[in-house]
């Protein structure tokens, strides 16, 4: 049994090791997606169970528990633990073994102390290209995982410190940006090595037996902590369902059903009733579905530390063959949309139990827009990625945020001026989408609207979005928000994609434009209870329309014009 002082201090030191690994990977990686948007994670994992001990605080939520699954897959891939040797580095990207999508590649390194396996260090990085049919890897029309890129099961990239050159050659030959990815591979290996030497220092300082005891104790303590939060949720069975518009290939809604059963300190999450896996890429592997639930719960209880113990009190029943437990070779590159909806249904179910702690639905679509083509001035190939910004749901504490990123990500939107330098485009507007928020005592955040004009005759646009038919929901009496809308303004006239917000490689000629309107967030609580002064401020700010002020919020007002013609509203 470890004493309480050592536990606090060793825990801090282990977390510090993972934070330092994060820092090194972010600073030394080549691709902007890691360097700029932290699309990576680093952690320490249990030598026997592969459970997370500590994970760096800069990694994206989407890797919250997926990393642990990757480490467990590596452990399962060997005959015996004695197969692990100092200096080994395993590599994998199979979403059915490590989660998420093919671009996210995991490295796992066994760490030895006194000649014995002590723990694993692992990291993951999003590679800018992974081969397959669509540059960048988001393939709205992929029907098999083989179309999405090269698949890597757990294999040794380094064997006792020696690089497996042949494996690396095969891998790099299969992807579009080999130099950039090689730089990221170096950075990931570097982060693991630095992490190892730092970890060994920690063990030297606090002694092996103490640190080992701490690994087990950290898991026990986090389990206890999570259990204490779950105990505060009233016992009961809470159900919810929501839909994805379609799978990008077949225009048919896809249902996700959740049932959350709370009994004392235990929680059981059941997805029975969810639609079967899809033809298009709207599928999740088992582990990604589990991870999505963990993300939702971590957003509701942000204080719980993240390790293998945190989520032990939560059990899952996910029926095989559903779109939340797809099997190979189903395509998964639309996973961001499905994962978002799983987070939504978790919120939807739990708001029935603890409405004070759960926000209404966020805008609910990652909606990645990719533009690509040949730049007319440089004559070079370009790829630009614009992820959707949108509104957050209102919560007990506040209105919803405007222009947020998705709950599973922290990725930013590129600067307009910088985009116009890089790509042959000109933005026509970039603004609050007026009237798009769900009304509520705390209203949702509005969505955003932007329109991009092409300045090239050789440009194509792909979009992977959702929430065009099924709106982000309000809770506790709050209203739903306004759904997603994508419109192409072409020479031939206006065009709305057949799959509403999913389209693969639509040409956009010079001076044609694409207009994107992202959803707002759902409202929280009865809108007629909102303070009239706040409704008026929203009306004067143009966040809500006159009709919404009247009909949803029920305030009475009139407009006034100042001496120089400025129009504003006053309460009657």
């Amino acid at each position: 049994m470890i004493d309480n002082i050592s536990l606090a201090v060793i825990k801090g030191s282990l977390e510090q090791v993972t934070n330092e690994m994060d820092t090194i990977l972010i600073k030394s990686s080549l691709s902007p997606i890691i360097a700029e948007t932290n699309d990576m994670a680093n952690g320490i994992y249990h030598p026997k169970t592969g459970e997370t001990i500590a994970q760096g605080s800069l990694g994206l939520p989407v890797f919250l528990s997926n990393m642990q699954f990757a480490v467990q897959s590596v452990i399962n891939s060997v005959q015996d633990v004695s197969d692990f040797k100092p200096g080994d580095v395993y590599m994998l990207n199979d979403p059915y073994l490590g989660g998420t999508h093919l671009q996210d590649t995991q490295f796992v390194r066994p760490i030895f102390y006194d000649g014995e396996l002590f723990c694993f260090l692992a990291n993951t990085g999003h590679f800018m290209d992974i081969g397959g049919g669509t540059p960048g890897g988001w393939a709205p029309s992929a029907t098999e995982i083989y179309q999405e890129g090269i698949l890597i099961p757990p294999v040794k990239l380094y064997n006792e410190g020696k690089l497996n050159k042949d494996l690396l050659k095969v891998f790099l030959k299969n992807i579009r940006l080999p130099e950039q990815v090689l730089g990221d591979i170096e950075a990931m290996k570097n982060a693991l090595e630095t992490g190892e030497s730092r970890l060994l220092e920690v063990i030297d300082r606090y002694e092996k037996a103490n640190v080992l005891a701490c690994l087990d104790e950290m898991i026990i303590r986090s389990e206890r902590q999570m259990a204490s939060y779950i105990s505060e949720i009233p016992d009961g069975v809470y159900t919810f369902e929501d839909y994805l518009d379609n799978d990008g290939v077949v225009d048919k809604p896809l249902k996700i059903c959740i049932s959350v059963k709370v009994t004392g300190p235990n929680m059981e999450i059941d997805f029975t009733g969810t639609d079967p896996n899809t033809v298009g890429p709207m599928n999740l592997s088992y582990s990604t579905t589990v991870c999505a639930c963990h993300i939702a719960i971590k957003h509701i209880f942000p204080d719980v530390p993240v390790n293998g113990g945190t989520f032990k009190p939560i059990k899952f029943n996910i029926p095989e063959g559903t779109l939340v437990y797809a099997k190979p070779p189903h395509s998964v590159s639309g996973y961001t949309e499905v994962l978002g909806r799983v987070i939504d249904v978790c919120f939807g179910a739990l708001q029935k139990a603890v409405p004070d702690k759960v926000p209404a639905a966020t805008f609910g679509t990652t909606g990645v827009m990719t533009i690509g083509g040949v730049h007319p001035e440089t004559e070079k190939y370009f790829v630009g990625v614009f992820p959707y910004p949108g509104g957050y749901g209102g919560s007990k504490e506040t209105d919803g945020l405007i222009h947020g990123n998705t709950p599973q990500s922290m990725a930013n939107f590129m600067s307009i001026e910088s985009s116009e330098h890089r790509y042959p485009v000109m933005f026509e507007c970039f603004k609050v989408r007026e009237g798009s928020a769900g009304a509520g005592y705390h209203r949702g955040g509005t969505g955003s609207s932007y329109t991009i004009r092409s300045l090239s005759d050789q440009m194509v646009v792909s979009i992977m979005g959702d929430r065009a038919k099924y709106r982000p929901f309000g809770i506790a009496g709050g209203k739903d928000s306004v759904p997603n809308k994508v419109v192409f303004h072409l020479e031939t006239g206006e065009m709305v994609p057949v799959m509403q917000t999913k389209i693969d490689k639509q040409p956009l000629k010079k001076n044609e434009t694409i207009e994107v309107n992202s959803p707002g967030g759902g409202g929280y609580g009865d809108p007629t209870a909102r303070l009239p002064e706040l409704v008026l401020a929203d009306l004067n700010g143009g966040f809500i329309t006159e009709e919404q002020a009247k009909n949803d919020y029920g305030i009475k007002f009139h407009s006034k014009v100042t001496e120089h013609g400025y129009t504003f509203y006053e309460l009657d």
Binding site: N4, A8, P389, T398, L401, S415, F430
Partner: protein, 677 residues
Amino acid sequence: MSKLAGVDVGGTFTDLFYIDIETGEVRITKVSSTPKDPSEGLIQALKAGDIPISDLEMFLHGTTIATNAIIQRKGCKAALVTTSGFRDILELGRRDRPHIYGLSGVQNPLIPRNLRFEVAERLNHRGEVITPLNVEEVKKIGGYLLDLNVDVVVVAFLHSYVNPKHELEAGQFLNEINPNWHIVPSSEILNEYYEFERTSTAVVEGYLRPLISKYSENLKEKLSKSQYNKSISIIQSNGGVLNIDLLGKNSSNIIRSGPAAGVIAASFIAEQIGYKNIITGDMGGTSFDVSLVLEGVPKVSEQVDLDFRIPLRKTMIDIHTIGAGGGSIAWIDRGGILQVGPQSAGAFPGPVCYNNGGLEPTVTDANLVLGRIDAENPIGIDGTLNKELAEEIITKKIAEPLGLSLHEAAEAILRVVNNTMSGRMRILSIEKGHDPRDFVFVGFGGAGPLHTASLIKEVGMKKALIPCYPGVICALGCVIADVKHDFTQTINLPQSDWDLNLINRVVDEKISEGHSRLEAEEIKLEGIENEIFADMSYEGQIHTIRVPLLPPLSKESIIQAFEKTYEKLYKHTLPNIPLTLINLRVSVTGRRKPIQLTTFMKNHHATTIEEAKKSSREVYFNGRFYNTPIYDKNRFPLNQVIEGPAIFGQEDTTIILEPDMSAYVDDLGNLIMEVIK
């Protein structure tokens, strides 16, 4: 005519450092700050030190007024005029959220949406006019703004950093409508692309201007009443001073005024004794500020977030703040693990031992319980500390639940907070590609010298320096800072398009602008230094690195400089990828006559170790009590090494030396401590 006074107005205390260079006389004072009118506290500090105000040659000043105005939203009523279609840039930011986990919290822009207006106009990224400025719309908005009673109008158009014409024209028309408005074109504040960051920076500037101008006038008047009519300078976030008469147009330059002065002072002092690579740590009541100094030069950053979605792009000394200070609260989480901070008991009610009704155990309480601070003579507060109450609360809230003794619990609180602080120190150096163990730590601030010994052990550093006056070091920094102006211009050219004529012209313009600003300052200088930097990257990369350039500039010398810098940071370069030069930066520094630190020693009356010993008390280190001698640092013999444990007291701080360490006071009054291996 050799008397200088520096005053740093902080959130809790106003510190003064006064020096008469001829006689070597030094005076320091610490009084409570007066948040309603900060200049009150400033005058009180001068009075408390009995400073001969009318004889002063220079008065230098650091202040938190700008930061507070932003955080508390106490600036002015400002309007924003933007390119048609883009008035929401300020509100939308870059698609982010306040915290990685937890989805509540909202943006709260400095200018609300109903005070943001659009006019038809558009430039492309080359600065070419796509849509001419619609003058009628500008005039119409001008009319609205008259009715709306604003004080400031910020004008921020897309791509104005390449071509400011439209912004300036619109500003001109608005000025004609009401000459009393402060008009702030974004291109006058920042010549860089990134529309959100530029607009936000201009808005911060505009939001502060009326307030800062008023503050400057008020301060001048107050000092003039005290018979001081010479130059008043304010320390800027970049560590250089600025004449108060220029402050009105540079209001956003003083966001980090005081903390920057602290780093300047620490770096100056350390360099005097040959330490060029240091980590500075300023620990106060609520926060711990860390900063890195390499080869005698404080690291700078180009952007800071003042609040959620309020970035400020200005060259600033890179200071990282975490919530760890004397007031940080110790608590036990639901898993039964001891945590310290980030919540703080603040100045009120403060730690339990302050006896102001505080009920949560803090770091200061732990220091008191362990005998590290003196209950009878606390620094910076009147009266005595209530040790019994601190013991009771730590026992009840920490020791009993964790099954520890009182003293074990108190020591555990310190270990946890030191662990947090040392973690930040490590990350800071690792981010810049360095090993923290190669650095010397300079500890200061009210609580810094109490924790310095444990911190360096925690990080694995060998040596630390506590400057002569660690409790008023920001005020001291004001007195020694140079005069500094920074300029930026985005040119964004791929290597194939580098035009050396253009590059040299931009650099020359900025240098001469810097020189004329220095002249306008009317501060006595010994020399002027120009530095040139370029923000560069490999083509396609998003992150740029800051590359120092040496004239004469040529394509080859720029490439070489880039490769050298890149290799230093990332240990390798990327062959066969061409470069991009995004921004040119010019720094013009006017060097003031350096102060001889030996003058500080006039206050030092070295005796023998025996005579310097005031008393002793029982102090708890590593699980047991040691009878620990307490020395008067101002009487300690110079260069005589003693081994810990020991405590050194002086008017503005208490320094702890732990058992397995040695220390001496050097010729400049600094205390140097080392870990004995």
